[in-house]
Assembly symmetry: C2
Homo-oligomer: 153 residues x 2
Amino acid sequence: MKNPSKIIRSDNLTWPDLERKEYKTAGAGFRDISRYVLLGEREDETGLNMQTRYFEIGEGGYSSLERHRHPHTVVIVKGRGSMILGERVEQIELMDAVYVAPGTVHQFHADRGEPMGFLCVVDRYRDRPEIPKDAEELLEWIPDPEVRKKARI
Amino acid sequence: MKNPSKIIRSDNLTWPDLERKEYKTAGAGFRDISRYVLLGEREDETGLNMQTRYFEIGEGGYSSLERHRHPHTVVIVKGRGSMILGERVEQIELMDAVYVAPGTVHQFHADRGEPMGFLCVVDRYRDRPEIPKDAEELLEWIPDPEVRKKARI
């Protein structure tokens, strides 16, 4: 068998040989976000137990508010922004590393005057994200009204 | 239990709250390389099945020439350089993603007039790297003399 090692070339935070995918979380609110799966999804990458994705959020955009059993490792590689991380709102900057522990509510916001891009590593086989089904459930997920004000659903 | 989610703050590709570790591969040659384990090593990160590390190689430096059963996901986040990747020598640039498949001989070189930094994701539990024990074994690992010229052991 041919050795499947490879280099996936980047051109200014795009990867021309990969598909730029729609970001979608069924039923959830999100705005101006795109993603690439850099490694861990394709047939010739079965050695990998994890997937490494790149997400980019345009200025003013945000990811879906969600939680799931699988954890996230995130590293910011472009711009800055903020995030809901459990019971806090945190500012995040270039090359900060974020651990989103299992079951933690989280949402990324590019809310500081520029786009934000980050790498996000997850288990290859993982559970689907859960989103709050209504405003009442949001109240349970985020009891603190100051943090809840930040949430977009 | 307190939610172990957290943000590990970066200051210009250092992480002041983390230990900057010595790079070491027993018995192997390497030069001017440091590493941080960003996530996946500590007690309160047991949710993670993978470790995300940052390596930086000073200008003219290189990592150890090695191979192992566990694969690597690498993303270049600073500078540029080149690498031995199986039977080839490849140039690598900012934000290129590299898949080092199981068993593939590899070595990173910051040989293009600047330091090179990269994220490297691996299984949390993995086998130890193997290095060639002598010049004769290197000949088996890298049959092509042009590629072998690049190797430092």
